[in-house]
């Protein structure tokens, strides 16, 4: 009952005209910057800080949140159209989205992204209103061993994402882990794999990495092999998804929402990891896993729902504990502090209007995003009619701006150039770039949490198995490995039998 009253207060706040304007501005701005590769939500919010500080606190917060989830959707537009993920969290959308665009189904892919984001956004706003407190307890019960076990399970789970040779995928995961370890060691401040280059001390930024590995190297490949591969070269059959497409979106969106809502609460990983997890799980439950990666609409809906849900639940630790889980929520915490409000649990009590208005605005914002983006799909798709040769320089310019704006540092632009070449070579050698990204993201987290677990347990490995959550997850990892080994063996036996029969 109290929740209902609170939600009513929230809706009344969110629907005040100045807050509606802020929400609309944020969502629109977010979509636009999401489209510009690399110009992430964090950079934009940072630029808007001076404005945000003079607005009333609730209006500022609503606008910044709008930018954040707007960018989650906008980032998927370029991922689908030109294989350049605008945000780290839409890298996985590019797998099937871009292939759909290549087949002339860019419209349905974009619409699927918009609709699944909307489903996720609406449900997640409700989840936050109802379950913010219990979800916080989940986040608090996650210690280093739990993180380690989750990430390990994730890595094993995702190792099967990319088709092709298992050995190949594992090699790429390891390569990704090595790239991810570049930089200053968290525990000893030692520089690792930096070759004495100061710019490498902070490691490689994830957005820069994703743009280079997927977007720029794809351009290089297209330029090297002729332009047949580019999305614009195919005719566009239809702009809106068919009834059958819509039916295929629903379940993946719901599953994606669940995964995203849970993973978003964990600090650090949030939206990006949840999109990977949703994709991997969708592939597991699918009856046609082999279709993933070839332009399968489920492969767009699941990660898009997950990253949107994750983006929204990542506000939970900020709202209930005052802990910013990622760059964007850190900025929002900063803006509140400059206004003299210390974020944390007392905000909901002392300023219910701010707290609930913010939560209600998430739902309002998602409605705005859907209304804004469905009609725009037609325009985005029309972008593909621009000749590829004309588009390429623009993509590269925006990608450079994006990489530069991460830290206002030219070194990031050089890094992007270098990684693009690596991406080109990887594909040329017949390997997959996706496992590299996975290793890049998960590797350092796995290492950090394993080392911290062992510091906490005075070097006792059993801590990973004796705690209930991490023990369960470790058992799941082991079972999964055994299952994979069994399946591989059975295939081998079958293969041998075939050979023997032949002989």
């Amino acid at each position: 009952m109290e929740t209902l009253q609170n939600l009513e207060l929230g809706l009344l706040t969110a629907l005040q005209w100045h807050n509606l304007v802020a929400c609309f501005t944020g969502a629109l701005l977010g979509t636009i910057i999401g489209i510009l590769p690399g110009v992430g939500a964090a950079a934009t919010i940072a630029l808007l800080m001076p404005t945000a500080v003079v607005l009333p606190a609730d209006t500022a917060l609503i606008m910044m949140a709008g930018i954040f989830y707007g960018a989650q959707y906008g980032g998927s537009i370029t991922a689908i159209l030109v294989n350049v993920p605008g945000e780290g969290s839409s890298a996985i959308t590019a797998l099937d989205g871009y292939n759909m665009a290549k087949q002339g189904r860019a419209g349905p892919a974009l619409a699927a992204a918009a609709i699944s984001s909307f489903i996720a956004g609406t449900l997640t706003a409700l989840i936050i209103a109802l379950f913010a407190a219990p979800l916080t307890r989940v986040a608090l019960s996650f210690g280093a061993p739990e993180y380690f076990a989750t990430m390990l399970l994730g890595l094993i789970f995702c190792a099967s994402i990319s088709g092709g040779s298992m050995l190949n995928a594992l090699a790429m995961v390891l390569f990704g882990i090595m790239l991810g370890l570049i930089g200053t060691d968290v525990f000893t401040v030692a520089s690792r794999f930096t070759f004495g280059i100061p710019a490498l001390r902070d490691g490689i930024d994830i957005v820069t990495f994703a743009i280079a590995l997927f977007g720029i190297s794809d351009i290089l490949i297209n330029l090297a092999t002729g332009l047949q591969g580019a999305a614009g070269s195919r005719a566009i059959d239809r702009v809106f998804p068919s009834r059958a497409d819509l039916g295929r979106i629903i379940m993946p969106s719901l599953r994606g929402t669940g995964i995203g809502a849970l993973m978003g609460v964990l600090p650090g990983g949030g939206a990006t990891l949840s999109s990977f997890a949703a994709y991997a799980i969708e592939k597991r439950v699918s009856r046609t896993p082999e279709k993933f990666g070839t332009g399968h609409i489920e492969g767009v809906a699941a990660p898009e729902a997950a990253n949107n849900a994750g983006a929204q639940t990542s506000f939970i630790p900020l709202l209930t504990l005052g802990i910013p889980g990622n760059a964007v929520t850190a900025l929002m915490a900063g803006a509140l502090m400059i206004q003299g409000i210390v974020p944390g649990p007392q905000v909901a009590i002392n300023q219910p209007q701010l707290f609930w208005g913010f939560i209600a605005s998430m739902w309002v914002g998602n409605v705005i995003l859907l209304v804004l983006n469905l009609p725009l799909v037609r325009i985005w798709v029309a972008l593909l009619r621009i000749p590829y040769a004309t588009l390429v320089p623009w993509i590269i310019v925006f990608a450079c701006v994006g990489a530069y704006s991460v830290n206002n540092n030219t070194a990031d632009v050089y890094m992007m150039a270098a990684i693009s070449v690596i991406g080109l070579l990887v594909v040329r050698f017949g390997c997959q770039p996706v496992p590299i990204l996975l290793g890049f993201i998960l590797g350092p987290l796995i290492e950090e949490n394993l080392r911290r677990s062992l510091v906490l347990s005075d070097g006792d490995f059993s801590v990973l198995f004796t705690r209930p959550i991490s023990g369960t997850l470790m058992a799941a990892s082991i079972l999964l490995l055994l299952l994979m080994a069994y399946l591989t063996r059975r295939k081998m036996v079958g293969f041998r039998k075939l050979v023997e029969d032949d002989v």
Partner: protein, 325 residues
């Protein structure tokens, strides 16, 4: 001869013209917006304090302050950038322990000297190291903690947000001064470390009021002692280490404003005036106190000698946290 004379005259005119323009530039300072380099990402403690000050220094100078975040290298990337800018007072740097005491010792190739590469316009203020424990912890005082740490075999584990920060140096000092056993658990930033403390993964953490405040107010975390010379307004019941008999644990985490070396004296003077005006603004003081930050206005000369003294005295302690030591 005539030619040389003409050349000399032309040269003289040129020189005096240059002199007048630069004199005029100083007199008119500031005639355009001033860029404030903050060496950490937007949203963090540095950024919040920097922006709060920028809002007040701008009006005092009569020109807006544009905040530019150049994060990286533990505060050294932004400082190195600032050191290379024109010394005209239009690029100013928010210096701190990370960029001036720790970075240059850990990484000798940062490309600037914390004292010689800059002119020192004035201190903004300081915050303090705050020792906090999980609310359910049995430690009620710093004494409880030290007593336990003296007798425990493996030492008491405490959380740290970074392996190379002011707080790391403080931790080493704490171990040395008390003669007790403490063992660090390093986290990748303040937020994950505080989550671990609130969730009970660690029982003790070396933090700062600005980051621990929400948890203290919610009751999840309890402050034990603070490194200021006298108690701070936001935590009137929390004793200082000095009160508890550990004078050596007085430690300030200061922030100051610097310009590239060679900035005209007049410009430094104007900047200092604006900083001091901002630092005495009651509204700003109140906001800063809320996050445990105390403005400490100084003259440029006092700041310069304070900084030189800090750089000299910290060196050995920072050497101790270098990798491989």
């Amino acid at each position: 001869m005539g030619f040389l004379k003409a050349l000399a005259v032309a040269g003289f005119i040129g020189l005096s013209a240059a002199a007048t323009t630069s004199a005029m530039a100083q007199e008119n300072y500031p005639s355009q917006p001033v860029t404030l380099i903050i060496t950490f990402a937007p949203g963090g403690g540095n950024d919040v304090v920097g922006r709060m000050f920028a809002d007040k220094i701008g009006p005092a100078l009569g020109q807006p302050i544009v905040v530019e975040n150049r994060a990286g290298g533990g505060g050294t990337t932004g400082a190195a950038h600032a050191a290379k800018q024109k010394p005209d007072g239009y690029t100013i740097l928010m210096a701190n322990g990370a960029s001036h005491l720790i970075g240059p010792v850990l990484f000798p190739d940062v490309g600037y000297d914390p004292v010689k590469s800059f002119d020192h316009a004035g201190l903004l203020g300081e915050q303090y190291v705050l020792l906090v424990v999980n609310a359910k912890s049995k430690y009620q005082s710093f004494k409880d903690l030290v007593d336990e740490a003296r007798t425990s075999e493996r030492g008491i584990k405490y959380g740290l947000a970074s392996a190379a920060s002011i707080n790391t140096v403080f931790a080493n000092r704490m171990t040395k001064t008390t003669g007790a056993r403490f063992a660090p658990v390093i986290y990748n930033g303040g937020a994950p470390a505080l989550t671990a403390l609130a969730g009970g993964e660690i029982e003790v953490m070396i933090s700062a009021y600005s980051e621990a405040a929400p948890h203290i107010q919610s009751g999840a975390v309890r402050p034990i002692a603070i490194s200021s010379t006298k108690r701070i307004g936001a935590l009137p019941d929390v004793p200082t280490f000095a009160e508890l008999g550990y004078e050596a644990l007085n430690m300030r985490n200061w922030y100051g404003i610097e310009t590239p070396a060679g900035t005209p004296k007049e410009v430094i003077g104007k900047l200092n005036e604006a900083i001091r005006k901002a630092g005495s603004d009651p509204e700003l003081i109140q906001k800063l106190n809320q996050i445990g930050f105390v403005p400490t206005p100084t003259t440029p000369e006092d700041y310069a000698s304070f900084l030189a003294e800090q750089v000299a005295t910290w060196r050995t302690e920072v050497e101790a946290i270098k990798p491989g030591k």
